[in-house]
Amino acid sequence: MNQERGAWAFQVFSMELRKLFAYRADFWLGFSGSVLSTLGISYFLWASVFEARQASEIGGYGFHAMMLYYLAVAMVTKVVQAQEMGLVSQEIYQGTLNRYLVYPVPFFAFKFVENLAHAALFALQLPLALGLFAALFGLPPDHGVSSASVLGGVAAAFLACYLYFALGVLIELLAFWADNVWSLLVMLRITVSLLGGALLPLSVFPEELRAALSWLPFESLLSFPTRALLGELGPEEWGRHLGILLIWSFVTSVAIRLVWRRGLREYAGVGI
């Protein structure tokens, strides 16, 4: 019975993947473009930083390891952020939310499954990117990358993907009241990138700031899956980040439920 109930989810997931695979050129161009641009930027950026500081390590990362981190966090960010922003608010603005209210299917689950298909596509690209890096530059001498760490990192990225999706949805639901939520979504993306370790490893941040951030979700969203992927985490850190992800996911989901109920009372079902 349960399998039958969830059959729509497989259908949505498969349909979304089919749509994505239909654009083969997009898959390979997107992949090679993001890997090459990330590698190029990180090479020139970190080469100058290391040279200027005359340091062999920054935040515990040597130049080679920093390049690997930079590539890994860029690929993990794609998995976590998955689908483009603003789709839920568009459904509200355009009145296309109507169909999800009429169909006997949970709206957020439907949207998350679509999102998951995009995450899965990027997750496929992740080991390819690491393999390419290893082939071009080799892995850093004391790296912890293994097939188990890659699997763990991908699993962590999927958990983070849910939380990121939920945080985005919570903001997008403001579309029931506000005329435009786009700027808030951009702020979310920038905040997560900055405080989640997408621009710099968090080990570079001052100790006090790191302590303040430790119970917020940002580190667990990007830095955690990236470091898990690179085999840098012990069981204790795994446990802490999983706990943070689960607690924040729960809190955000409850908030979504409340805002959703309130928002539907305002919904007029009109749009372009």
Partner: protein
């Protein structure tokens, strides 16, 4: 199947003065206007019954349909559809209803209709054999077998509407809401959709609520109509009673032996409201109580070859009702 008691809905709409000054002002202080889309309306619809909701734009037709389909929360009042409160949207309720909105696509534009239908099979958990049989019947009836594998966005408006109808009826709903299903379609497509709906109604006997701006939809499909004006029901009853209850005029048509002269035209203006015609014919809209007098005056004063007295067109009467309140 559908029971509505004293349903009201108020919307709060943001209003902004035109121009840059208005935009700046709205950054600091927002002005809101309240609009009553539904004012305490009550309605009952039984199985196999199709009720036509008519009214001018903004009369509240779509608001009522959306509230009954569970999309909108009303401000006050109650409604039960198949025993469920629609806006609680429990799955048991949603599995038994369908909503078709002519102005808003329900299907996924990037997918071919066949893929959309497969997804709907899973969403509604329709057993495979029943799904295939129903799909086959609906596709045959609407003649869209060739377009099943075409992306929805590439279909013509008429074909898309037919796909929307199939999608809405695949799970054989017991209550169907049709919001302007023929809007923008050419006459052939309108006719084929009307025929299809009549056939579906005869075979499955769902309760249907139909809104349309096309009087032909209403006249062909509905035995009962509800006329709405500014959120209220002005009339709820058989279509056939509209004429006896609301028609204040009759039409006198006559064929004359020679083209209408200026004197004849002056006479017609004195008797009633001449309607535009060509050649040696006249059509005169006359108040019902003056029909006999006007007809005898015409027979006496003009060279009449043939004369007939007709009831006013139902569509005209209805349009008059929702413009002025009564004909």
């Amino acid at each position: 199947m559908i029971e509505v008691r004293g349903l009201s809905k108020k919307f709060r709409v943001h209003v902004k003065q035109p121009g840059l000054r208005g935009s700046l002002k709205s950054l600091i202080h927002r002005e809101w206007k309240e609009k009553e889309a539904l004012r305490s309306v009550s309605l009952e619809v039984g199985p196999g019954e199709i009720v036509g909701l008519v009214g001018a734009n903004g009369a509240g037709k779509t608001t009522l349909v959306k509230a009954l389909a569970g999309i909108l929360h009303p401000t006050s009042g109650s409604a039960r559809v198949l025993g469920h409160v629609p806006w609680e949207r429990n799955d048991e309720f949603r599995r038994q209803i369908a909503l078709i909105m002519g102005q808003k696509a329900q299907l996924w534009w990037d997918l071919p209709a066949a893929d959309c239908f497969l997804l709907l099979r899973e969403i509604y958990r329709i057993p495979r054999a029943r799904f295939e049989a129903t799909l086959e019947t609906l596709v045959q009836a609407l003649g869209v077998g060739d377009q099943l594998k075409v992306q929805i966005r590439r279909l013509s408006l008429g074909e898309r509407m037919k796909m929307e109808l199939i999608a809405a009826l695949l799970h054989q709903p017991r209550v169907v809401f049709l919001d302007e299903p023929t809007i923008g379609l050419d006459l052939t497509a309108q006719r084929s959709i009307r025929e299809f709906l009549l056939g579906y109604l005869r075979e499955h006997r769902p309760a249907m609520i139909l809104t349309s701006h096309y009087m032909e939809d209403i006249e062909r499909l509905c035995e009962r109509i509800v006329i709405m004006r500014e959120g209220e029901f002005v009339y709820d009853g058989p279509l056939s009673r509209i004429v006896e209850e609301f028609a204040r005029h009759k039409i006198i048509g006559a064929e004359l032996s020679e083209p209408t002269s200026a004197e004849a035209l002056a006479l017609l203006h004195r008797l009633g409201e001449p309607l535009p015609v060509e050649g040696a014919a006249i059509r005169l809209k006359v108040r019902r109580e003056r029909v006999a007098e006007a007809a005898s005056e015409i027979l006496r004063s003009l060279g009449v070859v043939d004369l007939e007295i007709e009831e006013e067109d139902v569509g005209t009467i209805i349009e008059e009702i929702f413009r002025k309140g009564q004909a």
